[in-house]
Amino acid sequence: MSNPLVRAIETIGAVFRFTLQLGRCILTGPRYFRETIRVMELLARRCLVPVGLAVAPVAGVIALQGVQAFREYGVEGLLSSMLATSILRQYSPTLASIMVAAQAGSSIAARIGTMKVRGQIDALAVMSVDPLRYVVVPGLIACMVVTPLLNVIATFLGIVSGWFFAVPVAGINDGAFFDNLYSQVSPLDLWIGMGKCAFYGAGVGLIAGYVGMATSGGAAGVGRAANRTVVYTIILILVADFVIGTLLLNQGL
């Protein structure tokens, strides 16, 4: 047991089994639609402000920094195509997912952890309500659906903020900004961002559920669960982001 390698393999196996169990729960009933809708609404409301506050400033910084770099080569009109591509494909999905992990992931893990510590999870099982179906699956589905929707709003806010810092603040020509914006962006970019978000959202729900259900050790354990969820999810998002970026580049997309 003390061997870290053995423990790592054990954890991977446990997560795999947990994923399969959740898959079976989603495919077969009973399903708790009302609970799912409630969690979705709660997540959307709670995450909207953090997601917007994360993506918009970053887009502004890219615009400011891009103006400096592009001006040296005298091609500052091209700024908007670089800005739009990197926001649509990269920054908006990644940052939106990281903020969903920070807000929704940690609160889901803390909620499940609190229920576990107080014995409410066992109480559900005694009442013959499967805690996986009633507590974990709604969180998973909600994260998977809400993250791409938040990403759309975040992308829009990001482009508006990029425009604000490029055109009125840094003095780029308004017409050139919009011409290059439309010429380089295709619906494919948005779909790639949405797909990434759905994938990362599922990761958030899965990790939050697993870590939350494994909580032990009272109030301090709840804090640890919330903390671990965020750390693990950020690792997953950044590693997956690099792998997906490489795959897309190799496919020529």
């Binding site: 953090p50 506050l53 994360a54 400033p57 970053v58 502004g60 910084v61 890219i62 400011l64 920094q65 400096q68 770099a69 040296e72 080569y73 091609v75 091209l78 195509s81 670089m82 591509t85 990197s86 494909r89 990269q90 940052l95 990281i98 903020m99 920070a102 807000q103 940690s106 609160s107 893990a109 803390a110 909620r111 952890g113 609190t114 510590v117 107080r118 810092f165 603040v169 380089q184 009272g218 109030a219 301090a220 709840v222 804090g223 640890r224 669960a225 919330a226 903390n227 965020v230 750390v231 950020i234 690792i235 950044l238 590693v239 982001d241 690099f242 970026g245 490489t246 897309l248 580049l249």
Partner: protein, 254 residues
Amino acid sequence: MGEIRTWVVESLAMVRDFAVFMRRALRAQMRPPPFGELVRHASDAGVGSVLLVTVLITFTGMGLTVQGYSAFAKFGGEDMLGAFVGIGGVRELYPVMAGIIVGARIGANLAANLATMQISEQVEALEVMGVDPMHFLVAPRLWAVTLMVPVLCAYAIAIGLGASYFAAVAQLDLNGGTFIDQLRANVQWSDLAAGVLKGLVFGWLVACIACFHGYSAKKRDGAEGVGIATNRSIVQAAVACIVFNMILSAIMYI
């Protein structure tokens, strides 16, 4: 509309409480903190984060390079990759990522830790013994994180540039010499100083936000209160890093 109004009122109340806490924390920081505690927290925050920062920044740097390349290749601007990766990484991305990582790992830890102490009445016990909890608990944590984050930032910049070089040469088959020349031409010592200076600001902000939420956890909330404190401190620390980064960059560029 009533809901939005309560939300605004509550947020403003939180900002006010935070301002009061910030003043108390600054005053507590002015006296020399207990040295043993300071060393313990500094090694926890600094040495404990090295592995996480290494892994995450490696992938961030490689990702930045690959993404930057695919964005620039569309209009034949591959020559600008070094400038983009160098300045963007050193001045913006790596310090912010270091701040977010420290917020998620150390900040959340501090918040959970202090909140647990608060709900199990350990803080009150300290007060009864005549020990000022702001000085004994909060000040060493603040000092430790504030001093460690700039060091982690410098480390993150080194790792990130290495990862960018690796991705450019090994994965994208660019010429390594050209890439280094571009970095040399575009990244000045002042950029490095700006990145590390940002780390100092982010470190203090993250630690202060985390201590605020941990310290103001309510005893009646029990275990749930620890979860709330952790959650809020992670989210607000990340948002604070990103927003302050924009403000600092805007001041530096304009």
